[in-house]
Symmetry: C2
Subunit: 353 residues, 2 copies
DNA sequence: TTGTAGGCGTTATCAG
DNA sequence: CTGATAACGCCTACAA
């Protein structure tokens, strides 16, 4: 099933080397040096800081490198310099659609700058998150923490070792990228108020989530401004299941309009309510948050506050890269605008039962 | 802007936190050696192959390591050994829900074995994919290619350098993990046939996609077996948009039942058809493939063939790790069962118009 | 069982 | 501008 005959000769040809050496292992600067007739250190220089070498030898070296199909060993490179050309990204849940955008954005701008991203998942656990971060620390130039669950102090400790960018949360002393919930939530509340709703129910996410607290605050403020009432209800988990479970609470609370901590919750709510023959939005209006993939797949489509996570990911990676170049900018919070996306799950309240 | 005063003394203090210091710069085996009063090489041994060292010194060393909060430098470790404890994962599109499962499964079992995964995206381009693979090659122990777009030969070339596992495609000579479309598709076709459909239209994915070809083949075979007709139609892109665009074709083709290359296509189709006032499934039955997140969010829910991608990811990572331990198992294709998930988008054909 | 001495592939610091 | 030569942190024969 595998090859039988000795590909010996063939191999030798493949690894075209000065003397037919086992060019197997990637060529090194020594090989190049030999081929170009210069000193290895000159090769290193020519390759890393061209300009500090004469044009002649430079071409010579570049040609040799090309011929040998040279590929610098990233580990050897990282050893003396400490720079790994890698950034670490930790998300709480790889399978949570919220993070797809973040992952993608990060990957995108990282690749764009010839950086690799190594990905880890914390599974919503502060402990796992921290150990993942710790493990990563040694092999990356910097870290992006998406919706971190660990304490502020831990994050600051990390940031003392390597540059850290936090997404989706505001940590004092750390540069953060966070969707500016106020704008979108303001739009949402006004939208609801404009449709005659006098009271808004907010379904919160996990207690540990900074974002949840922030969103609730946003809802409350906007409600105050609009002179309508706002109450908070807790959920088990920020998932579709959690949303379904929360449905009864909502009904019991006599809500006519609810804003959920996230789309998953909102979708679960929508499903359960519909299953119980409630008319959406006629009897209850539902607003989600995030505008994840699938938010427009429900019937009616989910009205939601869009948080452009891909932009956040790109922004975060960009900031991190910048921090790697010029150290120690004073940290700041970078806000990304959110906006209301109106679909079918919200409308005028047409009475109960 | 850098430090002014001689950090000499300070540094000394910072390191070796015997006195409760921060232990700033990572400790090395030298530090441990000093603290434990042994030779660095002994430390190395004690840490990597305990058992080749006396219990006494071992404890001594482990304690010292713990105290210094020692963390081996992965790069220094990788240099002499060549092992990186990292596996590379390349997907065509990070934002495509199909891959979420793969990513997650891979990350999961990798982390479980103390491996990191570094992620790259090819953007559907064989060229970008190959360059990504090439770049990665140097920094990983092995590679997982999810739905690769590059040619078989290129993949085999890669596999000659480092172990490679392919997901979602069958490449001769390479260990692959592929959903066994036959079973699920067979169920789907029988399901449709059982509902009176005599002709099935398959909407294909990208030409370059091995999977698309395979699925079409599966549909054709099952149709033959069921004695019904099967025709193939091409799509622009395997996305919701592509699905919407294909709607007219479908109608023109007079299809009563369609099986789409993937769920995205199916959802797009569903949306567009509904927008044109077609009744689903009364006038047209729609079957997707993958059972991505969101497939059950549509109304009616999408009947689809579920491909358990998370399992595939775990399987792939597992196989790769195994290949890393014991080299050169003969490659084989590992099939993962697919199954039909019946939801609301399929049913009896109730006549046209 | 433990210490000695090289080496892994690059970069960086000096001289020349 | 270029060539020696010493790190970088760890591994591994080989010797003691």
């Amino acid at each position: 099933m595998t090859e039988l005959s000795p590909p010996e000769a063939e191999r030798k040809t493949l690894r075209n080397n000065v003397e037919g050496r086992p060019a197997r292992a990637n060529a090194t600067i020594y090989d190049i040096a030999k081929l170009a007739g210069v000193n290895p250190s000159t090769v290193s220089r020519a390759l890393s800081k061209p300009g500090r070498v004469s044009v002649g030898t430079r071409r010579l070296i570049e040609d040799a490198a090309a011929e040998l199909n040279y590929q610098a060993n990233p580990f050897a490179k990282a050893l003396p310099t400490g720079k790994t050309s890698t950034i670490g990204l930790i998300v709480t849940d790889v399978a949570n659609p919220t993070f797809f955008g973040t992952i993608r954005g990060t990957e995108f701008t990282a690749a764009d700058h010839d950086y690799s991203v190594i990905l880890a998942e914390s599974g919503e656990s502060a402990r796992k998150e921290q150990s993942a971060a710790q493990r990563m620390l040694a092999s990356v130039d910097g870290l992006i923490l998406a919706s971190p669950r660990m304490e502020d102090d831990r994050i600051r400790e990390l940031a003392q070792e390597k540059p850290v960018i936090v997404v989706n949360r505001d940590v004092e002393g750390i540069t953060c990228v966070v969707p500016d919930v106020e704008k979108g939530l303001g739009e949402a509340v006004r939208h609801l108020a404009g449709h005659g709703h006098r009271k808004i129910t907010f379904i919160a996410g996990p207690d540990a989530s900074w974002m949840s607290a922030r969103r609730w605050q946003g809802v409350r403020q906007a409600s105050e401004w609009c002179r309508i009432e706002a109450v908070k209800l807790d959920s088990d988990s920020p998932t579709i299941k959690g949303g379904r479970a929360a449905a009864r609470m909502i009904v019991d609370a006599g809500a006519s309009a609810v804003i959920a901590y996230n789309d998953l919750l909102a979708i679960g709510l929508l499903q359960e309510l519909q299953a119980a023959a409630y008319a959406i939005p006629d009897q209850i209006s539902i607003v989600g948050f995030d505008d994840i993939f699938g938010a427009d797949l429900t019937t009616p489509g989910l009205t939601t506050v869009r948080a452009p996570m891909e932009t956040c990911g790109m922004e975060a990676a960009g900031l991190l890269l910048k921090a790697l170049k010029s150290p120690e900018k004073s940290p700041f919070v970078h806000y990304i605008d959110t906006e209301l996306v109106v679909r079918g799950s919200t409308g005028k309240f047409l009475g109960s039962t």
